[in-house]
């Protein structure tokens, strides 16, 4: 009997067996009375869940529905299986258990219907992984779909393989994916290329299979294929010095592709804010960085183009800035001409003053990457960096702190420490510890005098004592111990700190530690007299 409670329940039903005792009782017993209960559409279930006013109500609705779904799976209803799994995936997102749907994914993937495969593969990606024995069982279905499926089906199979394909699956299916790299449809090819990247990550030996097709793929004009190919080549180069050497010969071709994008653009369909396919440009720049690093000849080949991009990119929108930043990083990482390097760092310095916070963040991050290799160039922007300590945005001030600490040297230590101490007094709590330890470390390295060093440590202890590690106190003790001429001074300072704020536990601890100076301490404070 069909329950026709209005449109909400739909006109279809699934067969559920249950005893008079209600849902949850034994199933599958042919002697039991079977009643037909309509199966909720996904949207209807979602409606019901949204109608629940409390967490408990929601749980009740979902558990009830999951029981229906389990029964439906057990009965093996093929017609509504896809809908049952879709509902299961929905409640899975909300945090409810869905493991009993794993085998159903396999059945759906093996079905001939696209509707079934679509949700089945999605289920596999969301519910299955290498830890489940079931995952290997889809290998055969994937193999069939890759070799005989229509394009959308091949796409689904590749997507699944690139998401949850284990090493075994990858080894098994590499030949199928290799075939798809060079077949006519760009839709399938671009997916096969990224699947190859995943396969190489899982099984590095497969690099030998996927390296040869790259040369031909680089001649394609389809942006999706090019993007995937650049990603694949990058992966190969990062894994093997031999591959890196091999791909150096494509530098001129990469330069040509990038130059075309920058000057004319392959297709306006890919432009973002007037910039031709910034995603592809960024990927190419990243690959050029890897290929040009420590290689004079490659660096020279790309020098002119990098200069062109650095000077001509439109920086009024985010897309152009993304390209520009990548260009700067590439310039700094390869063997580029000195003039070009100065230009690059100056671009970053300019970005530090940009009104867009995202730009300032990326500028700070980039400068941090360069501070070791190009210290003096970055030093030129120290005043601006220090200004960024005053940022209200915690992400920005954190970056500014890291960079400021990295810029401290013996000639600027007094000025920098003043700024950093001021920052310590007002910085957000989660940066206190890092700031304190950073100051102490810098003081250790660059202290101009012992007295200055002691003052600095004391100031940190009194400003952020609770955030300082214990060994800071030990260091102070050692420092004072090794500076006889400053004993009286130190003890006086410690006493003052203690008198100011008796709750400064660390200061008190320090006093206790200097037990051998206790006599001096007591004399100084006049307690013995």
């Amino acid at each position: 009997m069909l329950n026709r409670k209005g449109r909400r329940w739909g006109a279809d039903a699934c067969v559920v067996g249950f005893s008079g005792g209600g849902v949850g009782a034994e199933f599958g017993d042919p002697l039991r009375e079977r009643m037909v209960v309509p199966s909720l559409k996904l949207q209807d279930l979602i409606e019901e869940i949204r109608g629940a006013k409390t967490q408990a109500q929601e749980r009740e609705v979902i558990q009830k529905e999951c029981a229906h779904i389990r029964a439906s799976f057990r009965d093996g209803d093929p017609v509504h299986r896809h809908r049952q799994l879709a509902k299961l995936l929905y409640v899975h997102m909300l945090g409810y258990p869905a493991h009993f749907g794993q085998m159903e994914c396999l059945k759906l993937i093996a079905s001939s219907r696209f509707t079934d495969k679509r949700v089945g593969y999605l289920g596999a990606m969301l519910l299955l992984d290498e830890r489940h024995d079931a995952h290997l069982l889809i290998t055969n279905s994937i193999k069939n779909d890759l070799s005989q499926g229509i394009q959308p089906v091949q796409g689904l199979a590749l997507c699944t393989l690139s998401t949850m394909g284990s090493a075994e699956m990858c080894r098994d299916l590499a030949p199928e994916v290799e075939k798809l790299l060079l077949q006519p449809s760009p839709y399938v090819r671009k997916k096969a290329i990224l699947t190859a990247v995943h396969m190489i990550r899982k099984v590095p030996e497969l690099s030998s299979v996927f390296l040869p097709p790259c040369a031909q793929l680089l001649h394609e004009r389809h942006h999706g294929i090019l993007l995937g190919t650049i990603t694949l080549i990058t992966e190969l180069c990062e894994r093997s010095p031999a591959a890196l050497r091999h791909f150096r010969k494509v530098v001129p071709q990469l330069v040509h592709i990038l130059r075309t994008l920058v000057t004319m653009g392959y297709s306006t369909e890919h432009s973002i804010s007037g910039v031709s396919d910034p995603f592809l440009q960024v990927q190419i720049l990243r690959l050029l960085r890897i290929l040009g690093r420590n290689h004079e000849e490659s660096s020279e080949t790309m020098n002119d183009l990098l200069a062109q991009v650095a000077t001509n990119t439109d920086t009024s929108r985010n897309a152009g800035n993304a390209v520009l930043f990548e260009t700067v990083l590439t310039i700094m990482d390869i063997r580029s001409a000195a003039g070009l390097r100065v230009l690059a760092v100056n671009i970053l310095g300019r970005f530090l003053l940009n009104s867009d916070r995202n730009i300032r963040y990326v500028a700070l991050t980039s400068l941090l990457r360069l501070v070791q290799s190009d210290h003096s160039a970055v030093q030129r922007h120290r005043p601006t960096v220090v200004e960024c300590l005053r940022e209200t945005d915690a992400s920005l001030s954190r970056r500014a702190l890291e960079l400021s600490l990295a810029l401290v040297n013996s000639s600027n230590v007094r000025a920098m420490m003043q700024e950093l101490q001021a920052f310590l007094e007002s910085c957000p709590p989660d940066l206190r510890a890092d700031c304190a330890s950073g100051i102490l470390l810098a003081a250790e390295r660059f202290a101009p005098t012992k007295r200055w060093h002691i003052d600095t440590i004391l100031h940190v202890l009194t400003t952020a004592g609770t955030h300082v590690r214990d060994d800071a106190v030990a260091n102070l003790t050692q420092l004072i111990g090794g500076a006889q001429e400053l004993h009286a001074y130190s003890v006086r300072r410690l006493y003052n700190a203690l008198a100011e704020d008796i709750s400064q536990v660390t200061a008190a601890y320090t006093v206790q530690k200097t037990s051998e100076h206790r006599a001096l301490f007591l004399r100084t404070s006049g307690l013995l007299s």
Partner: protein, 156 residues
Amino acid sequence: MIQAILVFNNHGKPRLVRFYQRFPEEIQQQIVRETFHLVLKRDDNICNFLEGGSLIGGSDYKLIYRHYATLYFVFCVDSSESELGILDLIQVFVETLDKCFENVCELDLIFHMDKVHYILQEVVMGGMVLETNMNEIVAQIEAQNRLEKSEDQVLA
């Protein structure tokens, strides 16, 4: 590499959860909650980058997010991704959703979670950027939807 893509509303209710690295279910839920709390603390006029929480990985990971009306779109990425590039990628994804759903709103994501996954799969695959040409993506999705519809008709 993109580690995860999360979409949740202003109250932390998940609307799309996609991980490209395997985590057990409980950890996944924890990550969603932790990410929501981190992102919620941010004002609207500060930068869109956050150092990642403790669960999804160490210092190499960050959260890049955009806030559209009632929804947060959060991409968790490692240092190999361009921060500004990901911002544009989020925009591409959202604009694609807009084209597929015709003036997309939160309700569309709620009631068509599966379709949102299918659309996302045409933009990001295996944690890598697959396609950014919106016209191509939309054409593909429409073709697939037609395929599904034709199968439904056969059944009826």
